[in-house]
């Protein structure tokens, strides 16, 4: 067929590595780009940490390169601090973590795990990557327009965002690109999982990772459009002079704003959180999936409660659409509405607990192999646990009145996303690296990466709970130095910042490991070095064009480890017989 992107095997360099329609190449493109963004977002945060630990002091070494309009004499301006905060959040979530989880792991692993030759729409898949890159570049460019990048927080609340500098307009345009990208991806993932499952691979035989990606894709598909709508409205407010989010009688710097008024600031918050709460499950579900795969592989026995995990993931997906206003208790929505959202928030924590419990119980009685991927996967469990449990007080409006917009909230969600999801990502990289490159990563460097990272992550985020409980607000330029009630917890800032820089230092073993292992070293002799049951390991290494030499047929569930009477302690899904 003339328009089949798979027909030609004689591809030149550009077709093969740059404008490729192969899900594996696109996955790697996503992975490398997103790791760079993750690193960049991390650097923004390290600058902020200097300002919090040493407010008003010039930034050593790099301060003088930041420019007079950002940091005159190396001392950070409040406006620049706000840019850093807004862009750190945006970049980490939309350009780092989600593209890694969905764009990289989802793209590379899902078609392999379901025994498919590629995604259903390879060209849309490529378009999705390029839209993502365009969004990323737009965000980066916004640092260099007059007034700098967006500086109204990653949440872009109006009226502030409506009247902010040009960077905010670019933020909206960037988000439109990213939303387009994720829409193309989501359609592709869902059709791929529904349509291209190998014969015999029924839904209840899908690995948990595929389930997680399926539900994630539905969240992206249905939750992002409202943010797109909100973005369009904010764009019109900014460039066409409308008043969607501007109430009547608004004063700016003592002057009444020349607009018609009649808009509502809460409208933005509703539209934003309608996306952003499901988005937090986009940030966590694929990571849970990765951890489940690695856990099952290294405990050498089936996951405990596979079915309850699957139903919990689906239930989480549904519920995540009706909890959004737990981010808005302080807006005075009224007790009736609060009561509804408190109830749904308490209900949604149940499936998370079910999943975590299943994974913990799975560990029981296993003969566990503690390799680097497993260390990260096991550490994910308590870290996510802390993050989830600290969410409960936030979900009840009475305690949230005290905790809202404090460092406690920062601690809560970072526990879920940093030592939670990002550990899941590291676990996934160490785990699937041998399939992608045909080489194993170094174990010693892996340990040198893991242990300090675990330590520093906790030294960074645990003290934030203390600061938040003491009443320290987030987004303060000087970290709250001027408040009497915060004097007792200010000194924690230094420790947190030191730990953050320490964390950065101990990412070096990872970067070295990644590059070094790619060049030579440790070539794996087997296509299935971890002795895994799922289909991605039953391919050549790295999988060629079309993935499987012959179409695989599936005869069993995903985690048949240590089956009594079986020849080996793992029985691949495509192995025929009882």
């Amino acid at each position: 067929m003339s328009n089949d992107p798979h027909n030609s095997h004689r591809l030149n360099f550009w077709q093969k590595y740059i404008f490729s329609t192969d899900h594996k190449v696109i996955g790697i493109q996503y992975g490398i780009t997103a790791l760079c963004f993750l690193f960049f977002g991390f650097c923004l945060m390290m600058l902020m940490r200097w300002q919090l630990a040493y407010p008003g002091e010039p930034i050593p070494f790099i301060g003088k390169f930041l420019g007079e309009n950002r940091a005159p004499g190396g001392i950070m301006l409040p406006e620049f601090y706000n840019e850093l905060g807004a862009m750190h959040g945006t970049i980490m979530v939309f350009l780092g973590v989600v593209p890694l989880l969905v764009g990289a792991f989802g793209n590379y692993i899902v078609p392999l795990q379901i025994g498919a030759p590629d995604m259903t729409f390879p060209r849309l898949n490529m378009a999705s990557y390029w839209a993502f890159l365009a969004g990323g570049i737009t965000m980066l460019v916004s640092f260099f327009v007059p007034g700098g990048a967006a500086n109204s927080g990653w949440t872009s609340y109006p009226p502030l965002a409506d009247i902010a500098t040009t960077g905010q307009t670019l933020w909206i345009l960037g988000m439109v690109f990213l939303i387009t990208s994720s829409l193309l991806g989501a359609v592709n993932f869902i059709t791929t999982i529904f349509q291209l499952r190998a014969p015999g691979l029924t839904f209840m035989r899908l690995p948990v990772f595929v389930w997680a990606q399926l539900v994630t894709a539905f969240l992206l598909l249905l939750a992002f459009p409202p943010l797109e709508a909100a973005g369009i409205l904010q764009l019109l407010d900014r460039v066409a002079g409308t008043s969607f989010f501007l109430p009547s009688g608004l004063m700016v710097s003592g002057e009444p704003l020349e607009v018609s008024g009649g808009g509502s600031v809460l409208l933005w918050q509703h539209l934003f959180w309608f996306l952003a709460h499901p988005e937090v499950y986009v940030l966590i579900l694929p990571a849970m999936g990765i951890v489940s795969e690695i856990l099952a592989n290294n405990i050498r026995k089936p996951l405990w409660g596979y079915k309850s995990m699957v139903y919990s993931v689906i239930f989480l997906g549904f519920m995540s659409f009706i909890v959004w206003a737990h981010h808005m208790y302080l807006t005075g929505m009224g007790t009736a509405i609060n009561a509804f959202f408190q109830a749904t928030t308490m209900i949604i924590s149940i499936p998370s607990v079910v999943i975590l419990t299943c994974l913990f119980i799975s560990l029981w009685g296993g003969s566990i192999r503690f390799n680097t991927p497993m260390l990260f996967a096991v550490a994910f469990l308590p870290m996510f646990g802390i993050g989830g449990l600290t969410g409960l007080p936030l979900g009840l409006s009475a305690p949230d009145i005290h905790l809202h917009d404090t460092y406690y909230v920062i601690g809560h969600f970072h526990y879920v996303v940093a030592p939670g999801t990002i550990f899941g990502i590291f676990a996934g990289i160490y785990f699937w690296f041998p399939k992608i490159t045909g080489r194993k990563m170094n174990e010693f460097l892996g340990h040198l990466h893991f242990w300090p990272s675990l330590l520093f992550m906790n030294c960074i985020f645990m003290p934030m709970f203390v600061q938040g409980l003491a009443g320290m607000s987030r987004r303060l330029y000087d970290g709250g130095a001027q408040y009497a009630h915060l004097q007792g917890t200010l000194n924690l800032h230094k420790m947190i910042s030191m730990s953050a820089w320490g964390l950065a230092l101990f990412q070096l073993p990872f970067i070295i490991n990644l590059i070094w292992s790619m060049c030579k070293r440790n070539i794996v002799t087997s296509d299935n070095p971890w002795k895994s049951t799922t289909l991605e390991w039953q391919t050549p290494t790295p999988p060629g064009h079309g993935n499987f030499p012959v179409e695989p047929v599936v005869y069993r569930g995903p985690y048949e480890y240590s089956v009594p009477g079986a020849a080996e302690d793992f029985t691949p899904q495509n192995k025929p017989g009882g």
Partner: protein, 197 residues
């Protein structure tokens, strides 16, 4: 294993070919997009001190004519698909051509309407009613433009596929039709909400 299966024939257990599932998913996300804007309309209206009656600002007869035009175009769209099923390529060309012309007529009338508003100094920034009116109808018009581009492609260069791979081509027209009916449906909600209520 090289070619992607189910590009033309449906998969047994889902009963769908890939593109059909794809377009339904895409439309689901579109429902959320317009749903969010309709919710915006409701929220703004509930919160407003006063809200104008649509018919006092907008031209109801013109809106009604446009409604008829779009519904007719949906009918011709279906007829073009049926024509292909009957293997009548000439009738297909006629019906799809009519669909495109009707869509262009809709856009022309919409443009005329916008222009009349501007002449009366009614702009998006004039009031929240006009703001949401221009946003909803503007976004809808963009969807019409998208549909015109897709349909023109299938009417022009894209229709060579009828010779090489007729089944696949019929599927494509079906998918384009699903999209077109959706755009039509959005208008059927827009018209009463904005013009009549």
């Amino acid at each position: 294993m090289d070619a992607i299966p189910y590009t033309v024939e449906p998969r047994q257990d889902t009963g769908l070919y890939n593109a059909k599932l794809g377009v339904w998913l895409f439309l689901a996300s579109e429902v959320m997009l317009f749903g969010a804007l309709f919710s915006t309309y409701i929220l703004l209206r509930i919160g407003a001190a006063q809200w104008p009656l649509g018919s006092s600002i907008l031209n109801v007869p013109i809106g009604a004519v446009n409604t008829v035009i779009l519904i007719t175009s949906s009918v011709t769209m279906v007829m073009s698909w049926v024509a292909l099923k009957d293997k009548s390529f000439g009738r297909f060309k006629l019906c799809l051509g009519l669909t495109i012309l009707l869509a262009l007529a809709f856009l022309a009338i919409k443009g005329f309407e916008y222009n009349a508003k501007f002449e009366h100094h009614y702009f998006p920034k004039t009031s929240t009613f006009l703001a949401i009116y221009f946003t909803l109808t503007g976004l809808h018009a963009l969807h019409i433009v998208g549909g015109v581009i897709v349909n023109s492609y299938f009417w022009g260069p894209g229709c060579k596929m009828w010779q090489s791979d007729p089944e696949h081509f019929i599927n494509r027209i079906e998918v384009a039709g699903l999209y077109w009916h959706f755009v039509d449906l959005v208008w059927i909600f827009l018209f009463p909400v904005l013009y009549l209520l």
